[in-house]
Symmetry: C2
Subunit: 140 residues, 2 copies
Amino acid sequence: MTSRTEQKCLEKGIRMTHQRRVIAKVLSEAMDHPDVKEVYDRSTAIDRRISLATVYRTVRLYAEMNILDSLELGEGRTRYEESAETHHDHLIDLKSGKIIDFTNAEMEALQNEIAKKLGYRLVGHKFEIFALPLAETEGE
Amino acid sequence: MTSRTEQKCLEKGIRMTHQRRVIAKVLSEAMDHPDVKEVYDRSTAIDRRISLATVYRTVRLYAEMNILDSLELGEGRTRYEESAETHHDHLIDLKSGKIIDFTNAEMEALQNEIAKKLGYRLVGHKFEIFALPLAETEGE
DNA sequence: TTAACTGCAAAGATTTTGCCGCTGA
DNA sequence: TCAGCGGCAAAATCTTTGCAGTTAA
């Protein structure tokens, strides 16, 4: 009944309204990286009493509370996903548009090293690989 | 007289108009990562006969021709910079907003490896580190 | 009870586009 | 010459916000 995302909201003491509960559920169940319009569509399918403005306000709130992560893929809109315990990055399949999550420990270590070398403390990062399926490019 | 960016345009056979020449010059001389409005302001300071629509059309054209690289930092707009021979990534100083370019060979190698492991051929990537100056966080 | 939240519609910001006159090669 | 380009203004997106009524704690 209580989604993972809702659980995190409760832990952070966020006031849970009906709308926020539905949006939390939608994101906990999402296996992809929906944008606001998609979150809105999935939410209103569960309950009509949710406006697009509320979805915008809620995902922004959740992202600020580190309950959601946001993705900017240069599409002119923001996608969201549940924050995972284990950090991961994204590979965007340019053929299908599919987004593949991956983790790489070396990457994570390297980032810290780079930031430190430049005199900084790492706060966050965005790492996206754009690529084509190997099969598609064979024989070129 | 002929900027580096203009030179690349000529090599690619792009029709050089007055406006495109000015925009090329602005980007060749930019030491930062200006957004479209900034490119427009710098361009019109050189010559008034340039419209915002033309700047949008031109930077998009240049980016498609790999003459410029675009940056999406989650600000809701796109920044541009000259494509360098040596690829580099960005560290965003969250205190000052300053963007620091850096190169890291290990990073470049790691990307290819990750893509390959997932069954893909690397086409491009975006890697941005968000960080705070070490001095600012001392004593916390 | 009441501070916070929501819906609605309007406004903002960024980017694209249709149309028509202009221009570079 | 003339296909392609640029200016202008309208429109298309995506996102935020003011206001007044509603609701969670």
